[in-house]
Symmetry: C2
Subunit: 233 residues, 2 copies
């Protein structure tokens, strides 16, 4: 059954915008048809199409599950986007499939990319949510200055992945714990600067190493997302 994202209110749901167009025009959906619908905030439902309007589709829900497949841990990755945006888009898709809650793009000292098409990134997340049948759309945040971001109040355990051996780094796979929330900073291709690492440490971030391998930015992020989901298996 195909999954749509829409607004859910009580026993009814409304699909609008691209999702509505996709149902009525691309898939040539009909009233009476069964479909799956999520609000992207944890509710997963099954419903029957009541009415197809020109810009929306009305659905009567026959089965509603709240907190659908909710995970007892949160993963937030804050990453300096790569020059090649395709690599970031692939990360958004794969991280969503494997399980991620929040993504923030960082402007760092060695960053090569200074802008992000957030609308396009959101579409990729949406499409991955639909494809992998999830009920939560990850939160995504526009580029923010590294120095501003690390000073914010973050309740998760704070880690910074880097390759600078002048600083103490713990091995990621040895320190992570199940059912714990993590915020992990992933640097640009030229790594975080010494000043950035220092500042992160002063703000409660712990240095970690993701192994001996030299990983690309997006692979380092994927590795972290994968590891955290793995230990919670």
């Amino acid at each position: 059954m195909q999954l749509f994202v829409g607004n859910i209110q009580g026993n009814f749901a409304e699909i609008s915008g691209d999702e509505s167009q996709h149902f009525s025009k691309v898939l040539r959906g009909k009233t009476g048809q069964e479909l799956a619908i999520t609000d992207g905030k944890g509710t997963m439902a099954k419903g029957i199409v009541l009415k197809i309007n020109s810009k929306s589709v009305e659905v009567e829900l026959v089965e509603i599950q709240e907190n659908f497949e909710i995970r007892p841990y949160k993963i937030h990755i804050a990453i300096a986007p790569t020059k090649n945006m395709e690599r970031m888009e692939f990360l958004l898709e794969k991280a969503t499939e494997i399980g991620i809650d929040e993504i923030t793009f960082l402007k760092t000292f060695h960053s090569e990319r200074k802008n992000i098409n957030l609308e396009r990134s959101r579409k990729i997340l949406l499409s991955a949510v639909k494809q992998s049948l999830k009920a939560y759309i990850p939160e995504i945040h526009d580029l923010v200055k590294f120095t501003d971001f690390i000073k914010k109040n973050h309740s998760a355990t704070k880690l910074i992945a880097h390759c600078d051996s002048d600083f103490e780094r713990k091995e990621f796979h040895k320190i992570i714990q199940p059912e714990n929330d993590y915020l992990i900073l992933i640097g640009p291709e030229g790594d975080f600067s010494k000043e950035e690492i220092q500042l992160a440490e002063e703000n409660g971030f712990r240095g970690i190493s993701l192994g001996n391998q030299r990983l690309r930015t997006e692979t380092a992020a994927l590795n972290s997302v994968f590891g955290l989901n793995w230990i919670n298996n």
Copy 2:
């Protein structure tokens, strides 16, 4: 230091083809320059450029490490390639960065793609090896019929990942063991057919599930590669 792939013989190495062009034309390398070199078969060396010819570069080695970062386990993924080849290419790159030994492309009942540009795939592997500083280039095999492949003599533990609940499936993360070799079959978007799963079981493959999530073909493969490397951490 940049890594090149070439032939190593005793204390000397020769870089040729694209690698030689890259050194002399793109990077404008000079004699006397230091570089890292691997034969792609486990030897990692440091050397000094002795001579730059029109189609090759001669290097004197000053440090040689055999079995460089060799892993005590082998991972072989046999996969039905996706229609969209970019997804397969991303998998080749990421799997190489994270650690894989062998990749075979499968022709299955529900396969959408019937051909592979093996030369292009090899270039992606090579580039990922260079980027992630590895000394082993993964082996890659052209499309082979599923029924032929599973009947071959494979010494690794044989698993088939599928979503068909008519067959018994073990949870992947619960059954895998460190320091063990695995061959894992990953199906096409429409999954393996019942006949294929049956036949695989008859040939010693054990059914596995990669979790509740509906994963794309390349994500299922990545998940397996990540998991096997993770438990060997």
